[in-house]
Assembly symmetry: none
Homo-oligomer: 127 residues x 4
């Protein structure tokens, strides 16, 4: 996996370390990262995005504590053998639920009907 594939935007309010950790979690849950797959080194990511290595390290440490990643001496971080296999669809959908609730709520406040919002989302998902 290439370090530059991470989408990182320091300008967002979302803390950088969580932008990284969340992406790794989802890629593992979705099966795009499989047990044993290697991750870019802390240095690579930090250099590719001009961020503080400590910030990357914090994300990795958190994922290691969760059992998502393993630290292989001399090899860096890899997806843990014990990491949950790609999760069933229902479970992955459930992970998206809080965000979908937020969308529904804001659409309601903005008086936006589903007929406007759903096509727009479909369009974005097809890209």
């Amino acid at each position: 996996m290439d370090a530059s594939l991470f989408r990182i935007q320091p300008s967002l309010p979302e803390p950088i370390y969580r932008q990284i950790a969340d992406q790794v979690r989802r890629l593992v849950a979705g099966g795009q990262l499989q047990a044993g797959d290697a991750l870019p080194s802390v240095r690579e990511i930090a250099a590719a995005h001009a961020i503080n290595p400590m910030t990357v390290s914090k994300a990795y440490s958190q994922l290691e504590a969760e059992g998502v990643l393993e630290r292989l001496r001399g090899k860096g971080m890899v997806v843990a053998a014990t990491a949950r296999r790609p999760q069933p669809l229902a479970e992955r959908l459930a992970q998206l639920d809080p965000l979908l609730h937020e969308v529904a709520q804001r659409a309601h406040d903005l008086e936006l009907p589903g007929d406007e919002v759903l096509p727009r989302l479909r369009q974005l998902m097809e890209k």
Copy 2:
């Protein structure tokens, strides 16, 4: 407008004062709050949700600085006469866009197809 109509969840990472301010902004954009409409007093909201009056005041001050609300001295806050009228649909939809992008991105990471996500969102929006 009833103070208890605000949805406030202190558990969220989103600060309370911004939860309030964002809701007011959207209600004004959607036209559910019109120019001249009075808002619940700081104390009412604070009491209804068991939060500190200053937290509510912070939201109101911010909205006043933005020109969304006006302070009627001794009377309270009302939607500003100069506040943008209910915005056209395209503009309201644009306000939802960043969140929809986030949904699309996460769905992609989780390998969730539109055929799973869209019906779920439709369901949430019909409630």
Copy 3:
């Protein structure tokens, strides 16, 4: 920039946080603070003037919302890259206009002629 350079007078009716914010705005407009320049930390200013850190923070937050300052996470506040460059003379003079109007109005009420007021002001400005 030294924290003690701010002029703060808690005795004035003008709230402290606005005394701070106004001074920063003017120093940026006048070019004495340039894009990228670091500002004293909240704690420094608070300690130097024996005021509450939150009061300083309020000024900084407001300036950040206006786009005058930027928050470098973990590092502090700096003058925003997007902040308006030192403004042309005419514009800076325009900022002083409301206050000059006030002077003219009060001088008129007090029946003070320009020949008395102007020399006094010249004297104060030469200090």
Copy 4:
């Protein structure tokens, strides 16, 4: 004196009652209002400027407490016989001093030289 001659701007941060009281004080100090001169009634001022009568009353009460005005039964408020005669020039100039200090300070922050500020003020005072 005509009620509409008062300059009142509810939009200013300066409280309305003080806008009124300060103007009266200055007009007395400058000699434009002399002992015995009648002031517009509370109702007149309130109606002319669409403000709360209580606000006008508060200004008058304060001026009465200071000895600037007197309440003549059936006649309304008049400038007190004991009110200080028009004050000597030096004293009136001293009253303007704090404001002139503020001008000097802001001009300094804005890097505005006296050669720019003074002509502008002269212009405003000649109107």
